[in-house]
Symmetry: C2
Subunit: 446 residues, 2 copies
């Protein structure tokens, strides 16, 4: 296997054991990038020489017997709305072209502490909202990779890097993971620090990660799920043993609820067929799976999310809007202008509704170990003008429950479709265990 | 000394050692209430028979050798916006007349766990905002006791109870403590649970306590400062050893900053004189005290607080406003109507400003151990139509720093005036130590 196709766990182990150097790994990744970046466009910033220098440095530390972390010498791509002290951070807009942060985001520092090598900055949509960047889908460049974490998903899918970090305020991790056919993980809200990450909507913004296997997601998730008092949404709590829990068998067979959600009528027919087949196949393999409905109150959930997000965009992109409106896309200006009109009472009522939705989900999680639902309305749209609909992520982002994209289906154009697996807030480790069990049961051994 | 005038620490110790029974203590308190409640009007609910029954129960537990908490058998008054499962909770408005909560607020449960006896519910202004209840100032019934925790401050000042609990969203603990001449403590924001307490403004609402000595405040503060995940503003943290820290001498003499604030021109002349004398006297006694100014940005602080509070009143009293507007005071309706117009962007900008103010305060606390400032504009107004101005509490509530009222001054009408002592967020224990040191140094031995 080409070294660039190694998983993060494998690569870290191979480096630790001296079977491969970090420099060899990075050279393989850079070579893959060189051959495909022109058609994929995953990178906003990449300096091959600097990457190799970091790799040689990592190799030196190891050869001198220095301490190595769980990601020693392994490259990670960072969405270009996350600050890096040694690389530009341009937030996907010319307005911030050339911006050089003074310090690393907490999550970047945690990755470096774990030995990871920040390979470069991956393409984001404009300010992590809707307007697409240059990235194309690695499975077929005529299709969108999804957004807003477009470059992170595409780079992992294309075998350029084993791991990448993105963010999700609506559907920006799970959707591109689904469209690009990789694993994606959006942890419980408030579990990964957002300090020095572009603030879009503090009530919704969630860091997420991409990998080509569940265990690689668990590995990077464990590194990043660390309390940081500089993110006001975080509370001190025990670290999550994702890898260890994932390796265990569930004490009893998990019960799954398949939920179509109020957005089911937006799923295209071939994707509906794929989900029906998945349900059928899973049941044949003995998976306990029931199809249930959400309470009627969830019909308003998209409006509730919209009010919070738009009001927050208006607040947090106020400077960009006032000083540089002409350089913003019209779609973003419209969102901001709607957000400017939201009343504080509406905003706070929406936040309260989000808490109520969560209690309703908790009742479902009393009966079921996990929820299965589409990650997206189907395959990626055949377009570079849109990043597709986030509608299948809205509920779960608003409620802050942990979500995984499992890339197990295909649509009529042989493009990937993901199924989303969700569990109760804080149950991230159990979600991984349930996901691993499900993958095994339906014959999707990794 | 009459038993009702015992401090909480003394009373708890006397009960523990069998020198007095809880029943005797409660009888003394009830007798004091019987003689003065008609002129003071501190109580919204009080059932003497039930109180005595609780006291006899406490005495039985003790006589059987049962475990006793630090407040065993000691009566506490609870502001009538804090839920109690065994007493009505009417929030100071006829709209909620006869309301009987199903369960205790977390703070009430903590008091009961500590052995305290909930004597009754104390008078609050209408929905803990501005419109006065029936309470009068125990020092002179022609004067307001301050609000909104009017009954709690007055009952402690009048010797009816040694301890009472109130809440502060602007100046509702420190102001009545100043006007009634008792000690008041508003801890760091997010340190005492507000679960099952009337929600006025989640970003500002803070539980506070009243006593006739600093050490009694520290005693009840320690009991109440306990993490409760049901209050979303709380984070797990170590318990605060207020009593123990307070008993220690500061390692070096503390440095004080006297701050007049932008509201100094609202202080009346006799109060200004009293503060000048306090400064003079303190310096003569060797207190390190400098007079400093707040940065100019603080000129907007009242407007920032107003936007948050009014928007939150509009949101949280929406039901009362829509269903029962005629039963609300016109002053509250005006606040609500202004709050209905606040935009989400203004609201969130105001919250951000509050965080910025806090950073400015942190710079002051780099140089000074504590800030001294007036608690109120002077003595209580001679009126029962107003509860006086909260203007000297606004900054500190907005910033969530811990505050103490020290009842050490008097105005021209021989009514009490308090001085306010403030320290950095989270430094509550050190604030008590600094306060004890200051009181000793200026000859105000308790």
């Amino acid at each position: 296997m080409e070294a660039n196709l190694l998983g993060a766990l494998e690569a870290a182990e191979a480096i630790r054991e001296g079977q491969i150097s970090s420099e060899e790994l990075i050279r393989a990744c850079l070579s893959r990038i060189e051959e495909s970046e022109e058609s994929i466009g995953a990178w906003a910033f990449l300096d091959p020489e600097y990457a190799l220098e970091q790799a040689r440095n990592a190799d030196q530390i190891r050869s001198r017997g220095g301490s190595t972390g769980p990601l020693h010498g392994v490259p990670v791509g960072i969405k270009d709305i996350i600050d890096t002290a040694d690389m530009p951070t341009e937030y996907g807009t010319v307005i911030h072209s050339g911006n050089r942060p003074f310090k690393d985001a907490t999550l970047v520092a945690l990755l470096r502490e774990a030995g990871a090598l920040i390979l470069g900055k991956t393409v984001t949509t404009e300010l992590a909202v809707l307007s697409p960047g240059k990235t194309r889908n690695p499975h077929n460049p005529d299709y969108t990779p999804g957004g807003s974490s477009s470059g992170s998903a595409a780079a992992v899918a294309a075998g350029m890097i084993p791991l990448a970090v993105g963010t999700q305020t609506n559907g920006s991790v799970i959707r591109p993971a689904s469209f690009c056919g990789v694993f994606g993980f959006k942890p419980t809200f408030g579990k990964i620090s957002r300090f020095q990450v572009l603030k879009q909507s503090p009530a919704l913004d969630t860091i997420g990660v991409f990998a080509r296997s569940l265990e690689d997601l668990a590995l990077i998730g464990e590194v990043l799920i660390t309390y940081d008092q500089q993110d006001p949404a975080m509370k001190p709590s025990a670290r999550m043993p994702l890898l260890q829990t994932m390796a265990e068998d569930p004490p009893v067979d998990p019960d799954f609820a398949f939920i179509r959600t109020p957005a089911w009528n937006q799923v295209n027919e071939s994707a509906k067929d794929a989900f029906r087949e998945l349900i059928e196949h899973s049941r044949q393999r003995g998976v306990h799976l029931e199809i249930i409905e959400l309470p009627g109150a969830f019909d308003d959930v998209y409006e509730v999310h919209r009010q919070i997000m738009e009001a927050d965009l208006a607040k947090n992109f106020d400077k960009e809007y006032r000083d540089s409106k002409k350089q913003l896309s019209s779609v973003l200006c419209e969102l901001i202008e709607r957000g400017q009109k939201v009343l504080a009472t509406e905003y706070n009522t929406a936040l309260e509704r989000a808490a109520e939705y969560n209690e309703m989900l908790n009742e479902i999680f009393e009966e079921y170990d996990a929820i299965l639902t589409p990650s997206t309305t189907g395959e990626a749209p055949k377009s570079l003008e849109t990043t597709g609909s986030p509608v299948f992520c809205t509920i779960w982002t608003l409620c802050g429950v942990p979500a995984l994209n499992l890339p197990v289906l295909q649509g009529e154009n042989t493009m990937p479709i993901g199924v989303q697996l969700l569990s109760k807030k804080g149950d991230d480790a159990r979600l991984f265990r349930t996901a691993a069990h499900l993958m095994k049961t339906i014959g999707e051994e990794q």
